[in-house]
């Protein structure tokens, strides 16, 4: 079975074979030619899944919330899949992917969960995630939830590049809410105030409302939003508010579709993907040239000039500027 080609794997995945789906995810994650072949074989069949991004600070209860939510979806007869992204160690490239610890109940309920490490290079995530979502889509999963730790721009971008972006916040974050305003909170279509059984949960809600008021005032929200983001209070550990979250997410999908914005968002996503691939191709192609130019320059003594000036001369030579 290890020798099955991409077309056979795609056919098997579409027929509901989990192992084929898992193998395709691996191929996409590793990148290169096999990933391109998977993209070729899947891109015509996609578009059936509601793609949801879920992000929030470490410890906000994303995995527990996702587990409770997807367990309920599975009980309702849906086929949810979760792509859980955790950071790789920048030093060793290894990673500990711990989402399944909190999602044991969801696994037992039949939810498909795939853990994924960011694997170092920032561009990799932006390349791999859309491809992996496509695989889950053609395998018949719906919704597909992409869960990331909301700490970096790439993770925020990945969340934004979905049909519905859910941002999880918790009481006690205090200044974190303020600090994150410009990044994380701006992409949200929907907020889940998790751990809302804590005494200061009302403050978080008020802070969010205030932020949304200000966004309205300045006109600086998501330009492709259908409505002011809904705020749902949840307690993932007891399941409180989880049904409301599920309803609000489904409602957002209907609103997007009715407003004609779903296709628009997906177009933006495809364009962003073209850009990610373009950047990756150009960077890969230029990396060797940069290495060579830098190696040559490293052998000589550094000239008495600012480092930027040295780099500019090297770059001009590389890019073949006749003026230098």
């Amino acid at each position: 079975m290890a020798d099955r080609g991409v077309p056979e794997l795609v056919a098997a995945a579409r027929g509901g074979e989990l192992r084929a789906t898992a193998r395709l995810l691996t191929l996409v994650e590793r990148g290169g030619d096999p990933a391109d072949r998977v993209a070729e074989a899947t891109h015509r069949h996609v578009g059936n899944a509601h793609v949801i991004g879920l992000t929030g600070p470490p410890g906000s209860g994303k995995s527990t919330l996702t587990a409770a939510w997807t367990t309920q979806l599975a009980a309702d007869g849906r086929r949810p899949a979760v792509l859980a992204v955790d950071p790789s160690s920048p030093l060793t490239g290894g990673a500990i992917l711990g989402d399944r610890v909190r999602m044991a109940g969801a696994t037992a309920a039949g939810v498909f969960i795939r853990s994924m490490a960011t694997r170092g290079h920032a561009g990799g995530l932006a390349l791999a995630v859309p491809g992996m979502v496509r695989v889950l889509d053609i395998a018949g999963f719906d919704p597909v939830i992409v869960e990331t730790v909301g700490v970096g721009q790439v993770e925020v971008d990945v969340t934004a590049a979905t049909d519905t972006a859910v941002v999880v916040v918790t009481p006690g974050m205090g200044d974190a809410v303020q600090a994150n305003k410009a990044g994380l909170l701006e992409v949200a279509d929907l907020f889940a105030v998790n751990k809302s059984d804590r005494p200061d949960a009302a403050d978080v809600r008020r802070d969010l409302e205030l932020m949304l008021d200000l966004s309205k005032l300045t006109g600086h929200g998501r330009h492709d939003a259908v409505a002011r983001p809904t705020i749902v209070s949840t307690v993932a550990t007891t399941g409180r508010g989880v049904a409301e979250l599920a309803e609000a997410v489904d409602a957002h999908f209907v609103e997007l579709t009715d407003a004609g914005l779903l296709e628009a968002r997906r177009q933006v996503r495809r364009r962003a993907e073209v850009r990610s691939h373009l950047e990756h191709l150009v960077l890969t192609a230029s990396a060797a040239a940069v290495e060579m130019a830098f190696a040559a320059a490293s052998r000589a003594d550094l000239p008495d000039e600012p480092p930027g000036a040295t780099a500019r001369r090297l770059a001009e030579r590389l890019l073949g500027d006749p003026g230098s």
């Binding site: 079975m1 290890a2 989990l18 192992r19 898992a22 193998r23 995810l25 691996t26 994650e29 590793r30 990148g31 290169g32 790789s88 160690s89 030093l91 060793t92 490239g93 290894g94 990673a95 500990i96 992917l97 711990g98 399944r100 610890v101 044991a104 696994t107 037992a108 498909f112 969960i113 795939r114 853990s115 490490a117 694997r119 990799g124």
Partner: protein, 135 residues
Amino acid sequence: MADAPPVRVVLAKLGLDGHDRGLKVVARMLRDGGMEVVYLGLRQTTRSIIDAVEQEDADVVGISMLNAGHLTLGPLVVDALADAGLDVPVVIGGIVPDEDRPTLAAAGVAGVLGPGSPADEVVACVRAAAARRGL
């Protein structure tokens, strides 16, 4: 992306064997050895391990056993994976008397790591097991 892809390892403890410190140490050793550890933790079943291996497309399964259940549960996991059609090697860590090692090897257990195994040995053992998957 030209580098070899990281080895993906599922780590778990079965049933009521409730001490996971060793497993956490091993998780860290494997991470620092450049591997991706899908950590399942305590109270797992053969079913939950099979589900994880299948969905994560894992290359190796690592089970920690400190309750002398290895002769029963080790072969059970190996057989359960084989019955599910998953060709994935199983490594056992924990308290395993030397005289039990041949029995486990005969049952298809790919490697045994005792207490105090240094990080290099842990990583090498898992890497050797992963070689069966072409990694």
